[in-house]
């Protein structure tokens, strides 16, 4: 519990850095007044708006204003939607969360058996095949996989819908798109961990006790080789969210990613800021959870 509080406290400086970077980016990216006002606005109009936005104040003061606003959840008004930005963003979370969960479950379900099989049958044709597929999975760009899946399953075979949401069928293609790269990475990682664990002394001990081969793999080795995978999944969440940005756009999935891209294209500052912070918080929370799971599973860290 003490650890949990400690760990949560560490999140604060991270969020500070994130918010600072974000603020800095917005600050150097140009005068927001130019975007908000039409081209034929007078200099006077601009000045009034600038003052009302606090843009005439020094940089660091502006940052603190930004920060206090952010903490209270006030990111300003969205240009596209004409209402407060944060609720718009929060509304999109469930869809993205659903997609992420589906792809994590999918990739884990693929990666664990394949990774184990690959390691146990090391250097066999099966191993080569699995390794080949997983390298391919890593090499294909996410968005292209998405397009090819649409081409194959929606355009040609007409099994799954091209885009949108509503049913499990809508979920399949985007989940595969995001999950494939992760499954590939996990398979590779699990294979190498497993090989490493299988050469450990305690596996030799288990063998010298007369434990059967299958039990060695599933009882002694699997748990130990999954441990580092947890950390990697946590680190990969960030990449996964990155993948969701594009995938959601391709499949018109009404999640955070689609909103972010939309907002960036429309230069809707308030929404962009809210999106970035929300994503950051989301990733941090997932990492925190992974960290706790890790501590729970590994007795060496648990005191």
């Amino acid at each position: 519990m003490k650890y949990f509080l400690n760990r949560t406290a560490q999140v604060i400086p991270v969020l500070l850095i994130v918010s600072f970077i974000l603020f800095f980016l917005v600050h150097i990216s140009g005068d927001p007044v130019d975007i908000m006002l039409s081209e034929n606005a007078t200099e006077e109009d601009r000045e009034t708006l600038r003052q009302s936005l606090g843009l005439d104040k020094p940089f660091i003061i502006q940052y603190f204003i930004f920060l206090t606003n952010m903490i209270t959840g006030d990111f300003g008004k969205s240009i596209i939607y004409g209402q407060a930005a944060l609720p718009i963003v929060l509304e999109r979370i469930p869809a993205t969360f659903e997609l992420m969960l589906a792809s994590i479950i999918l990739s884990t379900a693929i990666a664990i058996p394949l990774g184990v099989l690959s390691a146990v049958k090391r250097n066999s044709p099966i191993d080569l095949l699995i390794s080949g597929i997983s390298i391919l999975g890593k090499a294909m760009p996410n968005f292209w996989v998405g397009l090819m899946l649409i081409l194959l399953f929606s355009v040609n075979l007409k099994i799954f819908p091209v885009s949108g949401t509503g049913s499990v069928f809508h979920l399949v293609l985007p989940a595969i798109t995001i999950g494939s790269a992760m499954a590939a990475q996990m398979t590779r990682l699990l294979r190498s961990n497993m090989l490493d664990v299988l050469s450990q002394d305690y596996i030799r001990t288990a063998k010298s006790k007369g434990v059967k081969r299958l039990s060695i793999v599933y009882i002694h080795a699997l748990r130990n080789s999954l441990l580092p995978v947890i950390t990697v999944i946590a680190l990969q969440i960030s990449t996964l969210v990155g993948g969701a940005l594009i995938t959601e756009t391709i499949f018109s999935w009404p999640g955070l990613g689609q909103l972010t891209i939309e907002a960036i294209n429309a230069r809707d500052m308030a929404v962009v800021q809210a999106c970035v912070i929300t994503i950051a918080v989301f990733v941090i929370i997932v990492n925190l959870i992974a960290d706790l799971i890790y501590r729970f599973v590994d007795p060496r860290i648990r005191y």
Partner: protein, 304 residues
């Protein structure tokens, strides 16, 4: 008592009388010839580099050349296809093969340069933070956490969304968003290397810190840096393609751009989106194979 591990400390060969440098070149080439994936990787990378450099000579058309008489021509093996446009044309009748050949230029340029930017920043910061610790180190670690919290593609999107996306900004943005990876790895290697006894020995001799970093640490982290750099060229190519695909890439012919052109014609002209993707996949595959091979070769555990 001595700690013995019989298998690992098998007696070493008597030092051979051969010239060491000559010996090490052979030591590099023979496993390369033996490693099939290594050979494949090097060949693919070599071909892509060659294509990029000699694009004007290799491409049958200029990439921007619009030909309204040949709009959406399919590849040559399909009905209506011809050898004039081997891989077909896009919705404006531009030759797909030529566009892919020219696309290799930007992809490689962006990939290699941004890796260079990231590598230099990352290695310098990683070295100092790992070696000295203290404030730099604490700051770096917080930056690492922040970096994990913001997906690098999101970072790039936000920056490019508010700036005019040119090739230079693209290189800088990707470089800046990925230096932390190098810094993190170099830092953790330095943390363990500086406890090595040869670094302690250098300290006890009175070697200056700067020299220790240059002479004892840098050469020993170089192999990991080379390996990460290789694989990040692959990631960068994908990132660049993603950005171009989302319309935030530079105004130039890139693989991502060509691919996104085909997105709206998926149901009618599938080849426009398919071939650039294959080009990216093959290039990235080649780089991954090369990276794996380099990792195996440079792994100090294998070398020792």
């Amino acid at each position: 008592m001595e700690i013995q591990k019989e298998t690992s400390t098998a007696p070493l060969t008597e030092p051979s009388k051969k010239n060491t440098t000559k010996y090490s070149i052979i030591k590099w080439i023979i496993p390369l010839l033996k490693s099939k994936t290594g050979m494949l990787g090097i060949s693919i990378v070599a071909i892509v580099c060659f294509t990029a450099v000699f694009a004007p000579l290799l491409a049958p058309y200029k990439p921007e050349k619009v030909d309204f008489s040949a709009i959406s021509t399919p590849p040559f093996w399909m009905d209506g296809g011809s050898f004039n446009h081997i891989l077909g044309t896009d919705n404006l009748g531009r030759d797909l093969l030529s566009r892919i050949i020219y696309g290799a230029q930007i992809s490689l340029l962006v990939g290699i340069s941004s890796v260079g930017v990231a590598g230099v920043i990352g290695v310098i910061i990683g070295l100092t933070s790992g070696y000295y610790g203290g404030l730099v180190d604490t700051l770096l670690m917080r930056f690492v956490d922040a970096n994990i919290a913001i997906p690098s593609i999101l970072f790039a999107l936000v920056v490019l969304g508010f700036m005019s996306p040119t090739i230079i900004t693209l290189i800088i943005v990707i470089g800046v968003s990925s230096w932390i990876g190098y810094a993190r790895v170099v830092r953790s290697e330095v943390l363990s290397l500086k406890e090595r006894e040869y670094v302690k020995a250098a300290k006890s001799i009175g070697v200056r810190n700067g020299t220790i970093m240059r002479r004892h640490l840098l050469p020993n982290v170089s192999s990991s840096v080379i390996v990460i750099a290789t694989t990040s060229v692959a990631t960068t190519i994908i990132t660049e393609a993603s950005l171009s695909f989302l319309g935030l890439g530079p105004q130039a012919v890139t693989w991502g751009k060509v691919l996104s052109d085909g997105r709206d014609y998926l149901s009618t002209s599938w080849w426009i989106a398919t071939f650039p993707g294959i080009a990216i996949t093959i290039t990235v595959l080649g780089i991954i194979f090369l990276g794996d091979y380099l990792r195996d070769m440079l792994d100090p555990r294998i070398q020792e």
